[in-house]
Symmetry: C2
Subunit: 187 residues, 2 copies
Amino acid sequence: MANVKVEQDVVIDRLMSVFQSVGYDGASLSELATATGLQKASLYHRFPGGKQAMANAVLDHVAGLIDNQLANVLQSSAPAPVRLSSALTIIRQIYDGGRLACVLRALSHGTATGLFREPIAGIFRTWVAAFDHLARDFGFDTRTAQRLAESTLIRVQGSLILAQTLQNPGIFDQVLLDIETDFRSQQ
Amino acid sequence: MANVKVEQDVVIDRLMSVFQSVGYDGASLSELATATGLQKASLYHRFPGGKQAMANAVLDHVAGLIDNQLANVLQSSAPAPVRLSSALTIIRQIYDGGRLACVLRALSHGTATGLFREPIAGIFRTWVAAFDHLARDFGFDTRTAQRLAESTLIRVQGSLILAQTLQNPGIFDQVLLDIETDFRSQQ
DNA sequence: GTCTATAGCTAGATAGAC
DNA sequence: GTCTATCTAGCTATAGAC
């Protein structure tokens, strides 16, 4: 069965889903093959570097998402409060309202720890820089803007952990509201 | 070599270190054996349930730590600000100033996801309840106290992720200072 | 560029001597 | 209660036909 060409974008999307839900060590080649609808050997044809290359492709994809969606929105010409709301909507969608784990965190542990730290750090820095830009537009001073920007990522990551462990997505929603409040407190 | 009795407390402590640094799926029986100074068969003698039982023993140990150290300190008879400072000092020590990952998060992913969610959730609830108690003593209203308490855990977990990925423990330190400031803002 | 088949290895777990 | 030795299953990765 199968034997029909699967678009690379679709393959990467499905690889991401698997890493997201079971982590790097937890993702077996068999599971990755099933999820993509390809055989293991076909996956190796597309990703000669094996599982590590697959994870790197996923990270490239995520870096593009953050760059093209989040960072783009935050640096558009719209009024700052509008940009903030748009960004939070994107974040809400990315994590399905707190129900999905962050694939960056999933690729931060176990055997994967050292392998992907730098690309993940790059994505984190992009995120923080984008919110830092926004915070300054809101009128915060340099130091406060930096801290508020870091705080958005800290609270999103932390609230995802609690939301999933306590099976209460509301925790994630509340944090997004808190973030919005913090930015608007400057106006 | 070896063949000398290793205290169970020491064994559990070393198991914890391994899970903490490489996660559940990343921790092989060989590595757990090496770390504890026991052979695999000896580990199975002490933990007939295998790796899963070892992780559960670690979680029991952590639950005890949180109960006997953190929760105890937060509900002592000392003045609220003193209790807060003591608690934050304990947290700083537990995570070695942001350099150590949280073993609870390490046991939240991959194959382990479903296995340990409930015990971890229990530890999270104990943490939040203890800080909630403190926040009320500081004079916060019920709703604000609950949110501030959740926020301590959210920010500690989130800042650990950033501190380790960006290799900047200062992020963790700063968050602990922020938490202290938030509590004292009520005075 | 996909497939079937399999190599080579390490995983988690157990048997049984001492 | 520890050890050595070993089992089976699953892993990552590759060979080679089509």
